[in-house]
Every structure is written in C-alpha cells, then in structure tokens.
C-alpha cells in the first residue's frame, strides 16, 4: 500500500478547473518533486491534499485513511504536515513556541522534549535563538524553523511548498541538504513542490510534472533536468512542433 494515494482528484475554483483527474502514489520513505510552470496546479494539489481547498471529484488517502472532505486540522492529526509557501511561521511567538505549537496533537507527549532537542541538534541556530521571536529570524532561519515545526508533529508525510522561494541559492542548498539528511535519518516521506527542475534533478528523487492541472510526465528527477519532456511540459507539444 502506498503512503499517499491520490485518485482522480479534480479541484475547481468556481468554474475554473485547477486540477483535472490527477492520480499519483507516493511510497513510504520516498522523495517526490512536483514541478511545472506557474498555474500548473502545484499549489492546488498541495492544498487539496492538506484539506485547505475542497476537491470537486476524487479521493485522497494517507496510509489508508481517507483525507478528502476533512478540514486541515483533522488532516494534520492523521499525520500530514506541511511547510507552507512563504515560510509562514508564527512571527510574534518565540522560536521554541513555534516548535511546540504542533505538538498538541501528539499522543506521545513524553517524546516531545527529546524531539525538540533533536531539532536543536539539527539546527543549532534555532537552539541559540530559542527565546527570540520568530519574526526576527532571517529568511533562511525561518525556513529552518518552518521545517522544524513541521517535523515536530512526527508526520507520516511532510509536504514542502516551494522551499527555494525568496532565498539566496546558497541558503537553498543548505535547506535541501538538511531535508535530505533528515529524510535519511528518520525515513521521512517527502513531497516537495519545486519549480526549478534543475534543482530537483540535482537533489534527486522521483519527479511528477504538472501542466494545466494534469500530470504530463513522471520519472527520475535527474533525467528530467534537461529533457525534451520538460520543454514540452512548459510550452506544450504544439509549441515545440512549431519551433521545429
């Protein structure tokens, strides 16, 4: 059984279709990149999985639990955790409070202190600034905090929305190094939205390409980094043929 199953999911905003019959499966411990041009439906897919937007059609399951139709807080309780786009940390709470926020839903309260210590070990800068307000951190530090916060819920699946957005390339490298290291250590299952397929290819994993709300390609991320399929995803078949 796959960890996450998305079956024939469609999402509409009013009459405008954002996703049409998207089906995908993610196995335990896998790393999946969702890529595609602007308006391809990447964010809509994440929102549909996390319960932030309703699905018009289809079904989403996490470890066999039905997510469709549940509000975001219930989806989070079933083991899905999200690092939202733009690093939406809780600015006026302290770093440590940010980490503790998500732990209210855990049944193993005893393990929380140990996990916080582990996050601090992975991100020493957060330990240093544990009592500072999160809004005072730099962009890269806020991204680390958002990842740390998502980890604190002990998720079955962690989704990261555009981790490179608005960060310097060097910081983006650090963020990905951290994600990969965390995944290897903890056997995390990761779903990452990444607009740059070059970046995704370098990090490695399976890639799913979206365009116009549909899955148009799937395969090894490294292979996608410089392939015709990518051009096709961005510009469409007709565009490519016209160019020839």
């Amino acid at each position: 059984m796959s960890r996450l199953g998305v079956f024939d999911v469609s999402v509409r905003y009013g009459k405008v279709p954002a996703l049409t019959d998207v089906t995908l499966h993610i196995g335990e411990g896998e790393r999946i990149f969702i890529s595609g041009p602007n308006g391809a439906g990447k964010s809509s897919l994440l929102k549909a999985i996390s319960g932030a937007v309703p699905t018009a059609h289809g079904r989403i399951e996490l470890d066999g639990d039905l997510l469709t139709g549940r509000p975001p807080e219930a989806v989070a309780r079933l083991g899905l955790s999200m690092v939202p786009e733009g690093r939406e940390i809780f600015g006026r709470l302290t770093v440590e409070e940010n980490l503790r926020v998500g732990t209210g839903i855990r049944r193993d309260a005893d393990a929380v202190e140990g996990d916080i210590a582990e996050i601090y070990r992975a991100f020493p800068i957060l330990a240093e600034r544990r009592h500072a307000s999160a809004g005072a951190l730099s962009g890269g530090q806020q991204q680390m905090l958002a990842i740390g916060r998502a980890l604190m819920t002990n998720p079955k699946l962690m989704m990261v929305d555009e981790p490179s957005l608005g960060l310097a390339p060097k910081i983006v490298d650090q963020v990905y190094d951290t994600l990969v290291a965390l995944q290897e250590e903890r056997g995390l299952t990761l779903l990452i939205v990444e607009q740059s397929s070059v970046r995704a290819g370098r990090v490695g994993g399976r890639m799913i390409l979206l365009r116009g709300g549909q899955v148009v390609g799937e395969g090894d991320a490294a292979a996608f980094a410089d392939k015709d399929a990518l051009t096709e995803a961005y510009f469409g078949k007709t565009g490519k043929e016209a160019a020839e």
């Binding site: 996390s50 509000p71 999200m82 939406e88 940390i89 006026r92 709470l93 409070e97 009592h131 819920t153």
Partner: protein, 354 residues
C-alpha cells in the same frame, strides 16, 4: 541545558508576580495616605484590572476584538445582586424573580463565584454561535450580543429593575478585596496563555492557515478562552456592583466597552503586562483630569479645566499612543525577570511587529 531551560520556564512565570507586586504597591501606597476618595479610586481601578485582564484572556490570545464583554459583566453584576440582596428589597424592586432566587441570601464571596460561572456559561452558549465566524465578522457578532444583553436587561422590569437602578448592594469591595480578585485574574490569565491551548490560540492569532495545518482546532481554543474570559469578566461585573452599591444597565454598555478596550490598546494588546499597564495609566490619568476639572489652587491662582476636558484629553492621549506606539505602551512585551541579570526589564522577545 535542561537546567537552564527549566529556569527559563520558571522565569516566564515571574510576570504575574511582578504585576501583583506593582498592584500591591499601588494599594499599599493608597492605604498609607488614609484618603477615602483615593481608596475608592483604587478599588475602582483594581475592579477594572480584573475586567481588562478578563477581556485580555480572550482578545489578547485570539486577536479577535470583542465588543461583547460588557454584556458578560452585566450578567455577573445582576447575578450577584439577585443572590445577595435582602429578600424584602427584592420583593419590592424585583418582584418577578423566581421564588428560590427571591429568597436567596448568599454570602458575597460564593455569589461572586456564581456570577463568574453564570457569565462563563453564557459565554459558552454565545461563543458557540459566534466564534465559528472569521475575525471581523466575529467582532461584529460580539457587538450584536452586547446589544441583546443591554436590551433585555433594560426592559425586563420585574427581574432587572429595567432602567430604574437596583440599589442597596452591600458595598464590600474595597481596595484589598479588589486586589485579591485582580491578582487571581492575572494568575489565571498567565496560566492560560502559557498552556497548550493558549499557545495554540496565539498561533491562530499569528496565522490561521499555518495554525490549522499544524492540527489546531481554532474554534475549540477560542471557545475555551472565551469561557475563562467570561468567568473573570462576570466576577468583575459583580465586584463593580458591590463597589458602587448601585446597578443600572447603562453602566454596562458603550461607555465601559470603550474604556476597557482603550485600556487594552493603550497598554498593549499583545501582553498581559500591557493589559495591567493600560488600566493603571488610564485610570490615574482620568483621576488626575477629574481633579483638575474640579479645580485646584496653587498659591493664589485657582486653576480649573472646563468640564468635558477630561474626555477630550483622554481621546487625545489615546490617539498619541496609537501614533507613537502602535503596539501599546509595553509594545506587546511582558515584564519579566531575566536569567543572567536579575532585574526588571522589558523582555524584547515578543516585540517584533510583523
């Protein structure tokens, strides 16, 4: 590390201690003067501390402005009157009370507790209806709630005395009684804000979407905080009645709503210290201006402000504070003891504005 961590958590609880000591110093200072007018002013100020701290438990943590708290205050105030007034007085002024209530002759302390519980219960019912709405819509709905309470209490002749005042309440609330309740409210508010529910609610205040994605049920935590908030607001209402001795529905309408919110905003809505600071600063300012309106003599010159100057000057002070310190006098920080340098300082942890 764990030792230091523990120490930090203990220091987080130094806030209520510092606030209690400030209020104690205020009451003790007033008691030393032996001035009866000052003592009354101190009692009224501390009743307002209970009210504004009660209001803060909901507003400060949820970020939802409530215009409805004067309603919970009215409910508490009248409840205590029903329970403590002499049966003869009730037969005369409030003839429609049910028999068991008409014959009740409770001690003032359990009556204050009961007033808090009734207000908390009404908060639970009204909150269940209101708090599913988003921020501004919820605020408007709290205002509608206030209007409902006001209309009921100003017209329910045989139970509330309607617009004619209820008189004869035992005036047992002096500075020391009011101080005890104010400190109780501060301790409860601090406990709630640092609890798991308080933390979850503050997260929804910062970012509702991210909070829900972290598994937080915003509605549940808002409702819990409103119930606790309603309790202390109801108690504040009871104390208010027993400090003046007279109840009138008009005391629990727009005037008190405005002044309580003004105190919260001037002090700093983001922190408990802000709530207490706002009450002290505005109460002292109002007292000073009232005295100036009555006129003072310096040497041969008599100086008096024109009447009405007080309201205008308070309004100007509020505007100035909002312009110069939009996050309030405390800027949303708590008074707290520091780990390395054990002295009173503004804690800069929470001062960053987004």
């Amino acid at each position: 590390m764990p030792g230091k961590h523990m120490q930090n958590r203990l220091l987080a609880h130094s806030t209520p201690l510092i606030l209690a000591l400030i209020l104690l110093a205020f009451v003790a200072g007033v008691a030393l003067t032996g001035d009866r007018a000052l003592a009354r002013m101190a009692a009224e100020t501390l009743v307002r501390v209970t009210l504004v701290v009660g209001l803060w438990i909901f507003v400060g943590n949820s970020g939802v402005i409530s215009f409805g708290h004067a309603g919970y205050m009215a409910i508490g105030a009248y409840c205590s009157a029903w329970l403590t007034l002499k049966p003869q007085a009730k037969a005369l002024f409030l003839p429609d009370l049910p028999v068991w209530l008409a014959n009740a002759e409770w001690h003032v302390f359990p009556a204050a507790i009961a007033s808090g519980f009734l207000a908390a219960f009404v908060a639970l019912i009204s909150g269940a209806a209101i708090l599913r709405l988003s921020g501004i819509a919820a605020s408007i709905a709290t205002f509608a709630f206030l209007a409902i309470v006001y209309t009921v209490y100003s017209n329910w002749e045989g139970v509330t005395g309607a617009t004619s005042s209820v008189v004869g309440l035992t005036r047992y609330v002096g500075p020391w009684v009011a101080l005890a309740w104010a400190v109780a409210a501060i301790v409860a508010a601090n406990l709630y804000a640092n609890s798991a529910s308080g933390l979850a609610l503050r997260a929804t205040r910062e970012d509702e979407v991210a909070a829900r994605a972290s598994g937080i049920d915003q509605y549940r935590h808002r409702l819990l905080s409103l119930v606790i908030s309603g309790f202390f607001t109801g108690v504040a209402g009871a104390l208010f009645g027993h400090s003046l001795g007279v109840l009138n529905p008009d005391s629990f309408y727009l005037g008190i709503t405005f002044i309580a919110l003004a105190m919260l905003v001037v002090g700093g809505i983001g922190s408990l210290s802000g709530a207490v600071t706002g009450v002290l600063v505005l109460s002292l300012l109002i007292e000073a201006l009232v005295r100036l309106e009555q006129g003072i003599t310096i040497g041969e010159a008599a100086l008096a402000l024109p009447s009405g100057a007080q309201e205008i000057l308070i309004g100007i002070v509020m505007i100035l504070v909002l312009i110069l310190r939009p996050a309030g006098l405390t800027g949303g920080a708590e008074f707290r003891l520091r780990a390395r340098t054990p002295r009173l300082s503004f804690d800069q942890e929470q001062t960053t504005t987004n």
